[in-house]
Amino acid sequence: MRKKSSGYILIAPLVLGCLVFYLAPFLLVLRFSFSAGSGKSIRWVGLENYQRLIQNDSFALAFGNSMKFFAVGLPLIMVLAYLIALLMQKQTGRHKLLKSVFLFPYIMPVAGTVLLVDLFFSEMGLLNSLLNIMGLPAAQWMEGSSAFWVTIGLYLWKNVGYAIILLLAGLITIPSDQYESADLDGASTWQKFFFITTPQMWYSVFFALVFSIINGFKCFREIFLIGGQEPGDEIYMLQHFLNNSFESLNYASLSVSSILLLTAILIFFGVFYGFVNRKEAYRT
């Protein structure tokens, strides 16, 4: 009675919309990445665009910066969220509002966080005033390498709550008698963490990672609004490159960078998902 056709009808609006607005554009991008010229003079050039782009300095900088952002930001946010989730497990049970407090930076709109960063980190901002009061020289927070750390800090502040909640949800499902029997057997905290907590948390860790990556890409919005179209070298991200190529209507480089970005994401996910599945294989 739950006929096949009703399933197809139900998912039709979403799938059709996705096809039109996400999949078809993506296929177009794929085609663009292999061709050159525009309008009537499109011709197939194979991998020539890819070769040219990899040797492009701006692209290398942008790609490297984005990878650096995720290579630094993702482990930091996962470790931070995991630590906080572990420590706060009992507290959140007692104070229901605590989880909502964790989510509060996430709901702060982009325009708001940009204003905040301006307030805190600009030359006449709060942080510099504090430093002045303490007699230390004011620092240029938004220039140079510290800009990168400000961005990371912003990403952490905004999104750690999301990961905390996901990890907390996983932690709660672990039955507490496992911990109690481990205590009876004299297990140390480290052993308990390694042998009880970690094996059952892989699924939650995977989800926290997925959403942290999605949120990491959204962090570009703040960087864009703070730094403008041509920000300093340290925070010139892949999406800046995409944006600027968009402005100059350089379809080829735009498409190639999108495809390369997507390939990196897919490889990462494929590997991690396979890893998680293997770890979770013993559970039905």
């Binding site: 999949l23 507290q91 509060f104 325009a111 708001g112 204003l115 996910f269």
Partner: protein, 259 residues
């Protein structure tokens, strides 16, 4: 496991510290919006909310835009979420996995082709260009599918025996049982729309149409107090929604990972 008094004290203090870190910036903005060096001053509020109508105009426009997105996505996601959760058809898991991949894509990847397509459809420089792609974002369907999957099969079977068609099942059974999932999906898509930056810059040519999220950053009012009040204005809808629905939001996010 039993925890020592020390641990409880330390973790409590840590929780308080975290709360301060997470809430402090917002409190600072709130306070300084009406507290200048010389005392309490509500003039900026009066300016933004009453005297200079440009801010409120943009605010109502942005609000309408985001409500359209939120409701539209809710409608599409409820249908799709139920379809993926409760109907069996070949290719279901493959399609769902494909949607998950699409969910991760950053906006820029599809920006250019969307721009070309909107140009051909004549939708550039109108709000439809902003609304339509966001309505079909897979995130809502993802959350709702997990949420609908938890409906016990026997309830649906009983309903079908009583002669309910699928629309009735969705309306009378699925939706009332999963209000928190629906609220969470609506909230997340509203937040996404309220925060959108790349799409307005790409698709809209007329600066007057820019929603609040972008307009504020492009033309920051020179006045610091007005700037701060605008910040409050931008936060206000999100804050109100959050204040009323934070439980549902937390539940919905948690649901997303239930196996």
């Amino acid at each position: 496991m039993t925890e020592s008094r020390v641990f409880r004290g330390v973790s409590g203090a840590f929780a308080a510290l975290l709360s301060v870190i997470f809430l402090a910036p917002f409190c600072y903005v709130l306070l300084s919006s009406f507290w200048t060096g010389n005392g309490v001053n509500f003039m900026p509020y009066y300016d933004v909310f009453w005297a200079q109508s440009q801010y409120m105009l943009r605010f109502w426009r942005s609000l309408g835009l985001c409500l359209c997105v939120g409701l539209g996505q809710l409608f599409v996601s409820v249908l799709a979420g139920f379809g993926f959760a409760k109907c069996r058809f070949p290719g279901r898991d493959v399609i769902f996995f494909g949607l998950m991949i699409l969910m991760v894509l950053p906006v820029q990847v599809t920006l250019v082709p969307n721009y070309i397509m909107m140009g051909q459809l004549g939708l550039l420089d109108s709000y439809l260009a902003l609304i339509l792609p966001l309505i079909f974002a897979p995130l809502g369907a993802f959350i709702l599918r997990q949420s609908f999957a938890s409906i016990p099969e026997n309830i649906i079977d009983a309903a079908m025996l009583d002669g309910c068609g699928i629309p009735t099942i969705i309306l009378k059974i699925a939706i009332p049982m999963n209000v928190s999932g629906l609220v969470c999906a609506f909230l997340l898509s509203f937040l996404d729309a309220w925060n959108m930056v790349e799409q307005p810059i790409a698709y809209l040519r007329n600066f007057n149409y820019y929603p609040l999220s972008v307009a504020l950053a492009y033309v920051p009012p020179a006045d610091v107090p007005i700037h701060l009040v605008c910040c409050i204005l931008v936060v206000l809808p999100c804050f109100l929604l959050f204040a009323f629905f934070n439980q549902e939001l937390v539940e919905g996010i948690t649901l997303a990972e239930v196996k």
